[in-house]
Symmetry: C2
C-alpha cells in the first residue's frame, strides 16, 4: 500500500508536466508542435512578421529533398532548433538542424514489408505526419506500427504494431497526442476495414480501443448518455442499422485529423464512408459511418455522435478535420465544432452537446441533397442522384460532388482575427456505377466504378474559398486550375497560405482573397503550409511532391512517365503540363532588409 | 548533271545558315545553347546584371522536379523563351516555358531496355545533357541512341542507335553540335569498350567514325601529318603499343565535354583510361588512351594527339574538358587548349600544332609523378606508387590522387576578364590492388580494387580553386567539406558559381575567392551552373540531385535509405548528414528592386 501511495503521485506529476509542456509548446508560435499546430485544429499562427506589405518579397531560405517520390501530404513539426520531416512509404523521418540550413541531425528508416503494406493501400502511399510529446517524436507507419523516437537521437524508444496490413488495415493518418495520450486511427475502408481509434500512453502502453461500428461496448457507447441530435442513441444504435454482421467489414475508418478540447477533455474526429461502395449490398443507415464523434480522452467513451450521410451512396468519407472555434451563432456565444464534409456541406455543431447549429452547402454545385433539416439532422435527398434505386451495373450520371468530395482530408484553417474559415475545395462531379462484390480478406472491396469530370456549373475544377460559418456563406472565392489539395494556414497578419497541384505556394489577403505572392515549387503540392519563427525570423514551410497514384484514387499515369495513354481521361490529366513527381521541402523567409 | 548543280548549292546554303545560327545563338548571352554555353568550353557568360554588390540578394525564382531520383549531371539549355531539361536514365527531356514559371511545354520519354542498359553502366546512370541546332534538340540516350527532337513539339525527327548496350557500350556524355555535325562519344571503358567519336549530319546521316586505338585507318591517323609533341606519330602508333589485339578491348572511351575552334575547324576531346585496370595485363603505352586529341571536324582525321598518362596504372581518365583560350604564354600570344586532367596535372597545349607549353600539378597532393618533361612530354614517375611493379593482388598504398582524379568530368570555367581558370577538385587518395581478370563481353572488366581516403596533406576532401595557367599556379583556393562535383560558371561581373555535394550553390568573388552568396538546394549538386537572361532579368540555373550509386564509383548506400552499414567506409559517408537523393532544377534571380 505504501508503495502504491508513493508511485501514484509521481505518475500524476509526470502526466501533468507532459500535458503542461504540450500546452506551452503549442502556445508559443515559434514552434509547430503537432499536425495542426494546436489542439483546436485551427492551423492559425500568431506570427505576423510576414505581412501584407512585405509578403511579395518572400524568398526561399533553403530546401531539402526527402528522396521519396510519392505524394507528400501533411507538414513538418518545428520544436526549438529542429524541424522534423516525414516521408510517404517507407515513412522515413528526418530531424533537420535549423541552425545549419537544414543539415540532417538524424534520420530514421523503418523496416516495413513492401508487398504486405503498399499492395494493401487503396491510393497513394502517403503519410500525414508526426506528433510530439515528452521528448518523443511519434510516427504512425503504413504497416500500423506506432513508433516513438527519441527527439534528440532518433533512437526507437518503443513501438507497437496494432493491426495487420495483410488484411488491408494500413495507416496514412498522423498520430495525435492530446494531453498524455497518443491516438491513432486506421485506414483501409476500401478493404472492408472496420474503423477504430486506439489510445496509448506516452510509454507505449495501450489504453483503450473504440470502434465506430458494432456493439455498444466495443464502440464505447452508453445507450443513455451517448447522444445524437441531443437525444440518447439508445441500445444497439449501430447494430440495428446493418444487415447481419456486415458492420464487421463495413468501413467507417479513421485517417483524418483529430482535435481536442482540454477544458471538456473531449476529442473530435470523423469516420469514413461505409464499405463497400455498392449501397444495395448493405441496406440500413450503416451507423456510425460518415459520422462526427466527440469522445472522452481518458476512456474513449462517446459523448455525442452525428451521422452526416446515413447509408452513404457515393463514397462520401466523413474523416475531414473538425475545427474547434468559440464563436457567436445566432447572437449566442457557443463552443462550436466546425466540419467541411466531403459531401459538400459545412456543419457547425455545439461541441459540448453535439447539437446541430448550421448545415449549409459550401460547394454550390452539390446536387445529391437539397439541404439538411436542422430538426432531424437528415438530408432532403434528390432521387435522381441516388445510386441505390436502379439496381446493380447501372450508371448514375452527373452526381456532384464526386466521391472524394467537395473537400477531402486537406485541412482548412480558421482565423480568429477575421472570423473566417479558409477551405481548399474541388469542383468535380461523377458518374457512379455500383457493382456486386464479394468480400475476401486483404482484397480490394470496392463495389462501384466512378468517372470524374469538372462540375458543369464551374469554370474549372478547384477553388480556395473563405467561408463564414456563422451565416453559412462564401465570403470570397479564388478560382484554381485544379482541385486544391493542400492544407491552409492563416496568420495573425491576415494572410492565408496554401499550395496548388501545379506546385505554386500562394499567399492571399485573408480579408479580400487577393493574391499577394506566389512561388513555383518543384512539384505539385498536396502538403499543408505551416509557419514558425527561428532566431527572430518567421519562416513558411511546405512539402511539395505529387504522385501518379492519385491521392484522389485517380491514376495520373502521365505524371509517372508512362508512355501509354491512360485508359480513361480525367480532369487531372493536364497536370502533366505542370509538374512531375517530387519530394521537396521548401522553406521561405523575408529578405534581411525586413528583419530587425 | 543539271540536278546536281541545283542541289549542291542549296545544301551548302543550308549548312552555312545552320552554322551561322549556332554562332549567333552562342554569342547572345541571353541563351545557353550548348553544354558549355559556347564552342570554346569556357563556361563564361557576358551577363553582368548579377554582380558582387547584389549577389547576396539572389533569390530562387522557381523550381522544377524532374521526377527521377538519380545523379543529375550536366545543365539545362536555354533558347529564347524555352528551357530544355534532361534527366538521368530513362533520359526524359522537358521543354519548360520561361514565360510561365517553367510550365511544361512538352516532354519526351524514350523507351529503353532497363536491364540491357542500366545493368551495363559502371557507375550512376547519369546523362550530361542536350545539344541544339537547326530547330532540333539532340539527346544522347544511355542505350547509345542519338535522337533529334523537334524543339517546338518534342516529336522525334530522327534517331539512330550506334552501339549495343548488351556488350557494355552505353552513353552518359552530352552530344555536341559543331557547325553542321553532331558528335557523340561512347562510355563503357570498364567493360572493355574501345573508344570512338561518331559524327552525324543534322538530318541523322552518319558521316564518319574514328577510334582512339587500333589501326591508323580506323583512328583517322596519317602517320606523316598527324603529330604528337610536334613530331609525326609514324605508322601504327597505337598498334605498336599494345600486346596483340588488346586494343580491341582496351578502353580509351569518350564521355567528356568536347570543344571546337571554328577558325581552325578542329575539335578537341580527351580519351579515357585503358582497360582493364590491371596494368600488368596490358603491357605497352596503350596508345592513344588517356590522351588529348585535335581532329578535323569535316573528316574526323587527327591533327595532333598527346598522351598524358602512357600505360596508365591508376585509372586516370583523360576525358576532362579542353578549354580553348587565346592567351599569352611566355610573352607570346598563343591559341591554347587547356586541360585539367584526372592525373592531377594542368596541361596547356598550343591548340594549332599540339605543342606542350605548360604541365604543372594543380593538385599539390599528387605523388605518383614528380613532373612532366616538356621536351619529351613524359612524366617522371615515382616507383613507390607504380601499380605495375609488384605483381597481381598486391595493394599499393597511398597513391594520390585516387582513380577518379584530382578532378573528374565536372567542368572548369575560364574568365577572359580575370584570365583565371576556376576548377572543382577532389583531395582524395587511394590504395590500389590490381587483380587478374578475363574479358567477357558485357561483363565488368575491372582488374583492380581501390580504397579511397582523404589526402593526408589536406584538411578535407575538396577545394574550388582559381588557377593561372600562364604561370601554372593556384591563385586562391576555397576549401570544401566534400569533393566539388559540380561544373563552374564565370560571369563578366567577376563572379564564379559552383555547387557542392551537400547541396549548396555558391557565388564567389572571381578575383579573391571570397564567398558572397550561398543557398541550400534540396539535394547534393553534381550538375553544372549556367546563366541566361529572360525579359531583361538574369537567371542562374542549377540541377541538384545526387545518387547513392556514386558518380565516383563509390557507393554511398546511406543516401539511399539502406539500413545496412556499407561494407567499407569512404570519405563520402558523411554526406548522409547533409543530403538525400534529389531531382530538382532551381532557378535564381535578383529581387525586383535590382531590376530596371
Amino acid at each position: 500500500m505504501k508503495k502504491l501511495a508513493l508511485v501514484l503521485p509521481l505518475l500524476l506529476i509526470n502526466t501533468l508536466a507532459v500535458a503542461d509542456e504540450l500546452l506551452k509548446l503549442q502556445q508559443n508560435p515559434n514552434n509547430w508542435v503537432m499536425p495542426a499546430g494546436n489542439y483546436n485544429n485551427q492551423r492559425y499562427s500568431q506570427l505576423d512578421q510576414i505581412n501584407k506589405d512585405n509578403v511579395a518579397d518572400l524568398k526561399m531560405a533553403w530546401s531539402f529533398s526527402t528522396g521519396v517520390l510519392h505524394g507528400h501530404e501533411g507538414n513538418t513539426l518545428i520544436i526549438d532548433d529542429t524541424m522534423y520531416v516525414h516521408t510517404p512509404f517507407p515513412n522515413n523521418v528526418f530531424a533537420l538542424d535549423l541552425n545549419n540550413d537544414g543539415a540532417i541531425k538524424w534520420s530514421y528508416k523503418p523496416k516495413q514489408d513492401y508487398n504486405e503494406t503498399v499492395n494493401h493501400m487503396c491510393c497513394d502511399t502517403v503519410n500525414r505526419g508526426l506528433a510530439y510529446a515528452d521528448g518523443k517524436i511519434f510516427l504512425n507507419q503504413a504497416d500500423t506500427t506506432l513508433v516513438a523516437l527519441d527527439m534528440d537521437t532518433g533512437k526507437v524508444m518503443w513501438q507497437h504494431q496494432r493491426d495487420d496490413p495483410k488484411r488491408g488495415a494500413t495507416s496514412t493518418g498522423a498520430p495525435h497526442v492530446f494531453n498524455d495520450k497518443v491516438l491513432v486511427g486506421i485506414s483501409g475502408g476500401d478493404y472492408g476495414i472496420r474503423g477504430y481509434i486506439k489510445a496509448y500512453d506516452l510509454n507505449g502502453k495501450p489504453q483503450w480501443q473504440v470502434y465506430n461500428t458494432g456493439s455498444d461496448a466495443e464502440m464505447g457507447f452508453d445507450p443513455k448518455t451517448t447522444t445524437s441530435m441531443l437525444k440518447p442513441v439508445g441500445k444497439d444504435s449501430s447494430l440495428k442499422t446493418w444487415q447481419g454482421d456486415q458492420w464487421q467489414i463495413g468501413g467507417g475508418t479513421t485517417w483524418g485529423w483529430f482535435s481536442y478540447d482540454p477544458d471538456l477533455n473531449l476529442f473530435y474526429y470523423g469516420s469514413g464512408n461505409p464499405s463497400n461502395w455498392n449501397p444495395m449490398q448493405r441496406p440500413g443507415d450503416n451507423k456510425w459511418t460518415s459520422s462526427l464523434f466527440a469522445r472522452d480522452l481518458d476512456s474513449g467513451k462517446a459523448n455525442w455522435v452525428y451521422q452526416m450521410t446515413p447509408h452513404d451512396e457515393w463514397g462520401y468519407d466523413g474523416v475531414n478535420e473538425i475545427i474547434l472555434v468559440d464563436q457567436k451563432i445566432n447572437d449566442k456565444m457557443r463552443k462550436t465544432a466546425v466540419h467541411f464534409d466531403a459531401n459538400g456541406f459545412a456543419y457547425t455543431m455545439d461541441r459540448v452537446n453535439g447539437g446541430l447549429l448550421v448545415a449549409n452547402k459550401f460547394d454550390p454545385s452539390v446536387n445529391w441533397s437539397n439541404g439538411v433539416n436542422l430538426e432531424t439532422g437528415l438530408h432532403e435527398r434528390v432521387v435522381q442522384y441516388s445510386t441505390d434505386n436502379n439496381g446493380t451495373d447501372v450508371s448514375i450520371s452527373g452526381i456532384c460532388p464526386t466521391s472524394f468530395g467537395s473537400k477531402n482530408q486537406q485541412p482548412a484553417s480558421y482565423s480568429p482575427h477575421t472570423g473566417l474559415f479558409y477551405i481548399p475545395t474541388s469542383d468535380v462531379c461523377m458518374d457512379y456505377e455500383p457493382y456486386e462484390v464479394e468480400y475476401t480478406s486483404g482484397q480490394l472491396y470496392a463495389g462501384a466504378t466512378t468517372t470524374t469530370f469538372q462540375a458543369p456549373s464551374s469554370t474549372n475544377i478547384g477553388k480556395f474559398i473563405a467561408w463564414d460559418t456563422r451565416v453559412g456563406e462564401i465570403i470570397w472565392s479564388n478560382s484554381e486550375r485544379f482541385s486544391v489539395w493542400s492544407g491552409a494556414l492563416a496568420t495573425a497578419s491576415d494572410l492565408v497560405f496554401y499550395g496548388t497541384l501545379e506546385g505554386y505556394v500562394k499567399a492571399l489577403d485573408a480579408q479580400s482573397g487577393r493574391e499577394l505572392w506566389r512561388f513555383k515549387t518543384p512539384s505539385g503540392i498536396i502538403g499543408n503550409v505551416n509557419t514558425y519563427q527561428h532566431k527572430g525570423e518567421q519562416y513558411i514551410s511546405i512539402l511539395s511532391g505529387i504522385s501518379s497514384r492519385g491521392v484522389f484514387g485517380i491514376d495520373i499515369p502521365s505524371l509517372n512517365g508512362d508512355t501509354c495513354p491512360p485508359l480513361t481521361t480525367s480532369p487531372y490529366d493536364d497536370l502533366v503540363k505542370w509538374t512531375k513527381l517530387g519530394s521537396i521541402l521548401s522553406v521561405f523567409t523575408l529578405p534581411n532588409k525586413f528583419l530587425k
